[in-house]
């Protein structure tokens, strides 16, 4: 390209360029009224600085990135300040690339390459079909999504969307640390963590979504590995079993409320993982300042192979789920979420009040109550009810 052509193109390139950024600094304290076996910590302070930016090279081509910097008082965050990409560490990395992807969109085609967030499904609280959405479960009930390294191509044509995803390597969900309160070991027992066995192959998924006149529905398929681990009891090592999913979801707005349903059938070629059907049926309604979501999540095991594992998604099934939020005024709101097991063996209820101050600050106070029997997924964490105080500065 000659200098003359470059000079001629400069105004065009500059006009197409755009840079956007946002982020926040979040400071929070989690207070546990009760002690737990093997973990004397009753108060944990955490800080998170998240910075997101995107740069548009041309109207069709954009680079998007985000970085997290963390620190805490309870050794849930690495002390080594190296920059992490893979999200495979047991502890949260002190510095990590949260997202870095190139997005190309032209006509009805969007291609995204790199570390990115992929969300499937239509239900709230629990999404059986959301297979490319591992989470950080260090605090089990307070969790955040992790990005996956993937190639994603989406084609949208007159109400139909075809979404194809390939991830060359598994990004696992982060599980509770072995010698902290969210892993339940008998008093005095401490185990060394000898790590995880990751699969060598990639994952693939495809989803077709149809937006019709007044309704939406999808069919999805996933072939890969579960991002939630099973445990090899002999070596106390995590491994990630093969998983194949056939999923469907739908949202149908009716006169008084919207009905949302999501269901997935999971099979496995491996011999260690259960095969089962998971479903969620929920009703949703907004009325004035109220937002109401209520439903039921169920599970039917078609083949039980039952190894010991960590499976919070299955732990929230056979349960009534709900979320109620109320906007008090332009700056204040309250939200309550709950999951109550059908047999009454476990319950989780979170209530949060938040208030904005000016254009940048928001304070949140909340309490999470966990009750139930020791044999229940939720009930086992009954000593982990906790209060939360958080202050966030957004920019």
């Amino acid at each position: 390209m000659t200098p003359r052509i470059l000079i001629a193109l400069t105004p065009l390139l500059l006009s197409a360029q755009s840079f956007t950024q946002r982020g926040f600094l979040d400071l929070r304290t989690v207070i546990y009224p009760e002690t737990a076996p093997g973990d004397s910590g009753r108060a944990i302070a955490e800080s998170l600085l998240r910075y997101e930016a995107s740069y548009r090279f041309t109207p069709a081509l954009r680079l998007a990135g985000a970085i997290d910097a963390r620190a805490d008082t309870h050794l849930q965050t690495e002390r080594d300040p190296r920059l992490d990409w893979q999200d495979r560490t047991l502890r949260r990395p002190a510095l990590s690339i949260r997202r870095l992807s190139v997005v190309y969109g032209r006509g009805g085609v969007t291609a995204e390459l790199g570390k990115q967030f992929i969300r499937w499904g239509k239900a709230d609280i629990l999404n059986p079909t959301d297979r490319f959405a591992p989470r950080d479960f260090l605090g089990v009930v307070d969790n955040d999504f992790l990005a996956v390294t993937a190639v994603r191509v989406t084609i949208e044509r007159s109400g139909n969307t075809l979404d194809a995803v390939f991830t060359p390597r598994l990004t696992p969900s982060r599980t509770p640390l072995l010698n902290q309160r969210w892993t339940l070991l008998p008093e005095g027992v401490r185990l060394p963590d000898i790590g995880s066995r990751y699969p060598g192959a990639g994952q693939f998924g495809v989803r077709w979504n149809r937006v019709g006149r007044g309704f939406e529905h999808s069919l999805s398929f996933y072939e890969g590995f579960n991002h939630l681990p099973l445990f090899d009891a002999a070596r106390f090592e995590r491994f990630y079993p093969r998983l194949r999913m056939f999923g469907a979801d739908a949202a149908v707005p009716l006169r008084w409320f919207t009905v949302k349903g999501e269901s997935a059938w999971f099979t496995s070629r491996g011999r260690q993982a259960d095969e089962y059907v998971q479903y969620v049926l929920q009703l949703e309604r907004q009325s004035g300042e109220w937002s109401l979501v209520g439903g039921y999540s169920g599970e039917y095991v078609t083949r039980r192979r039952a190894l010991f594992g960590f499976s919070p998604d299955r732990g929230l099934t056979r349960a009534f789920l709900g979320r109620v939020s109320y906007t008090i005024d332009t700056n204040r709101g309250v939200v309550m979420e709950a999951a109550v097991r059908r047999n009454g063996d476990g319950a989780w209820i979170r209530t949060e009040y938040s208030q904005a101050f000016g254009q940048h600050w928001r304070a949140t106070a909340g309490f999470t109550l966990i009750r139930g029997d020791a044999g229940d997924f939720l009930g086992q964490y009954r000593r982990n009810s906790h209060a939360l105080l958080a202050l966030r500065y957004s920019f």
């Binding site: 109207p59 969109g105 009805g108 707005p253 409320f257 009325s287 005024d329 332009t330 940048h360 957004s394």
Partner: protein, 249 residues
Amino acid sequence: MNRLAVALILAAPCMAQDARAIIEQVQRRASVNSERYEGTLQVFDAKGRTSEKRWRYDRIGSAGSSKVVLRFSAPAEVKGVALLVINHPDRASDQWMWTPAIQRDRRIALQDRSTRFFGTDFSFEDLEERDVDQYDYKLLGEETIDGAASWKIESRPKQSKSSQYTQSVVWVRKETYTFARIENYIKTQLARRLNYSNLERTQGIWTARRLEMHDLRRNSRTVLVLEKLQYNAPLKDDEFTLQALRRES
């Protein structure tokens, strides 16, 4: 039957036709291929508390079947939240909300359209485009609004149009064929009043640069000021899809 009654009966369809013609003229005069502006919203609640939001508004297409993307740029905690509205000439619009923090879109169901949009006094339905064919009109008379002689027109949604409002009363400035005020009623109660002011001519089109929505039941109001308004901006149809919402986050 006396002469006056006959005259009124004969005039009634004629006045109805006039009312529709006026609204058609308003729509025709504001007709553009696309539109873009940056809006500043100030919300004043009943207790005097204020909050400020900013959004970028992009619109493409002809009246009645246009597409709109509203994308918040402030405050910082809602930066990137977006609303896609696809208007239809024969039925209620389709609307989706995109929340970048959870990377999810959510369809706004018809029954949810009466709720407030993001803490403002605009409801989701207020963000729809009012196509002339979706309402029946009746000329009620003439009044002066903010010093401008205006037609006063009653508009009622047709049966095919799903609306929270039973009827609206619309004032149209005679000189510029622009809206001066809209009062929206739920049953017989006045629910929201929208005032249009700061009229300016932009690219040959008279446009109100200040809109004030007053929610009379909550006694709160939202002032929307239009900045950097541009008609026939170079927007493309593929920027108004669910995928485009995701691409931009």
